[in-house]
């Protein structure tokens, strides 16, 4: 599943960039994501991702690995984890880029999300809809965080 | 609640009694035990088969109070106080039921895996509708899958049995 999102943030690029590396606050913008930990600054992070569709719940302990980093403009990262309780795995390839546009910063991200295992029994359509909603909420939360304390 | 008693403090067991193929059966089951497992493994009646395990195929069909249920997705305690019929209980005094006889005579099975479920579902149909049209029969039986026969011989078998059963009664 591939998702592309863009969000205009009324904040300078530098502030957006720094926010991304303020891992605790940044991870807190992902709905259902908590317990962010830095394993190796700038390279590896861990978090716990929980999601819910009706009575179906998943809890993925994920590790996030930063693969590429172009200062002030782009980050490529991969997040992966497994929920052993219900036998499912998740992998997210994330490509985030920043572009200055006047007094705003355009934050774009492309996410390739793969979900394997029993969770797939819920149906591709439902999971895709859920993932899309999570990414939308995430984008809005980032915007709120950065514009709120401008 | 009073009906429950605990064997060990952490394990809940339910004493149940029901009629199995015409005979009283008393036993204890845990709430999570599935009827198909109890019938096959604890009671040794292996006519009902596990296949899809999601109530789609009908190979695990049993009759509870004369109505077909998927034993694969029925909790065993649910049969308390009720009457359960498996394929093993269908023949009487060594004489095959007209449906069983008809399936043999009309070639209503090949590999035979679906047959116990087919015959029990067909019995439920004929008990409520002794003279079904072919469409009524197909509607009732469409949840019992056969991967060998193409259904034609099964339909012929059931219609032939229906005729025989009507002429007898």
């Amino acid at each position: 599943m591939r998702f592309e999102k863009e969000v205009d943030i009324r904040a300078p690029k530098e502030k957006v960039w720094n926010f991304i590396w303020d891992v605790d606050r940044f991870i807190a913008c992902v709905p259902g994501c908590k317990e962010a930990k830095t394993l190796e600054a700038g390279k590896r992070y861990a978090a716990l991702m929980t999601e819910k569709v009706g009575p179906f719940r998943v809890e993925f302990p994920i590790t996030i690995e930063v693969l590429e980093r172009d200062e002030m403009s782009r980050i490529k990262a991969q997040a992966s984890g497994a929920d052993n309780k219900i036998g499912s795995r998740m992998k997210i390839d994330l490509d985030v880029s920043l572009r200055e546009e006047g007094d705003k910063t355009k934050l774009s991200f492309v996410a390739g999300v793969d979900i394997l295992g029993k969770l797939a029994a819920l149906g591709h359509g439902i999971i895709k809809r859920k993932a899309d909603q999570v990414l939308d909420d995430f984008a809005q939360a980032v915007k709120r965080q950065l514009e709120g304390d401008a | 609640m009073s009906k429950m008693m605990a064997r060990r403090s952490d394990v809940q067991t339910l004493p149940i009694s029901f009629t199995l193929n015409g005979k009283l059966q008393e036993m204890e089951v845990e709430p999570h035990e599935i009827l198909l497992d109890v019938v096959r493994e604890r009671l040794g009646l292996t006519g009902a088969k596990r296949s899809c395990d999601v109530q789609v195929c009908g190979t695990c069909t049993l009759l509870v109070d004369g109505r077909p249920v998927s034993a694969c997705t029925t909790l065993a305690f649910e049969v308390r106080g009720r009457s359960v019929l498996t394929i093993e209980g269908l023949a009487e005094n060594g004489k095959l039921h007209p449906l069983q006889q008809a399936f043999i005579e009309h070639g209503g099975f090949q590999c035979g895996y679906c047959t116990p479920g087919m015959i029990l579902a067909a019995k439920a149909l004929l008990d409520e509708n002794p003279d079904p049209t072919e469409d009524e029969l197909k509607h009732f039986m469409h949840g019992n899958l056969c991967r060998c026969t193409g259904y034609k011989k099964i339909i012929e078998s059931i219609l032939a049995a229906a005729e025989k059963m009507r002429s007898k009664s």
Binding site: L119, G125, I126 | V54
Partner: protein, 286 residues
Amino acid sequence: MLRRFRLEEPASVREVSELLGRFGESAKLYAGGTELLLAMKEGLVQYERLINVKTVQGLNEIQSSDGIIRIGALCTHHQLENSPVLRQSLPVFVKLEENVANVRVRQVGTIGGNLCFAEPHADPGTLLIALGAKLVAEKTDSRREIPAEAFFVGAYETCLEPDEVLTEIQVPLPATRSGIAYLKFGYLERPSVGVAVAFSRNGGDSIGDIKIAVGCAGPAPKRVVEAEEALKGKTMEEATQRLAQAGQVAGRAADAISDLHGSQEYKEHIVGVLLKRAFQKAVSQG
């Protein structure tokens, strides 16, 4: 294989609600089990306790009085397809129930369980929305009536509170000369698209109130007011001419998602086709 759980067998709705409140998400209401047990066997959900609501008396009756058909939440599909009350007053619902899943699922599956599990590929919710049904939810100290169209929140999600119990479905008795139809299409075990139309006639030959609902295509059944607007108040002839347009509108409004049952575009198209046929069927019966 199922994991071990404890069974609670309450005697009243009040007790059910108390148990739900006490045990929270570690417990689940259990009625027919046709959906729940599949998810539990698959290991997708785990509960420490199941609360067998079937030990509560009086929730499996079907009655018609004061212009309302009251259906107990524990009625099985089998009961509904054979109900004399429904056969007489709501044959469209009987027809729908006759075609739910297969004879074994209908034997044990309940209407309440079907609605509360909110599996997207289900039939009854769609028709109940078009019929303007209300769902009665109770807990220890309160009771409310929820319009069917507000009941479904998303896939597998309803607006019920954690300790609320669905006890009854109330369907207003259709006015005389109203037209009602439900049609579904699918090629897998569950339907891919379902469309329900229900309208009353004004004096003469025009459409009075009309409700259209679409199910299965998206995460939850929903009313499509946009399509209703295209037909409301029109004469039968005008409405018939606008069916294609109404079908397109309904398709777009259906919130269809691509999955094994078909692509979004395909489902949107089928919604239009079914709407047209369902309307024609409703007209011929009204």
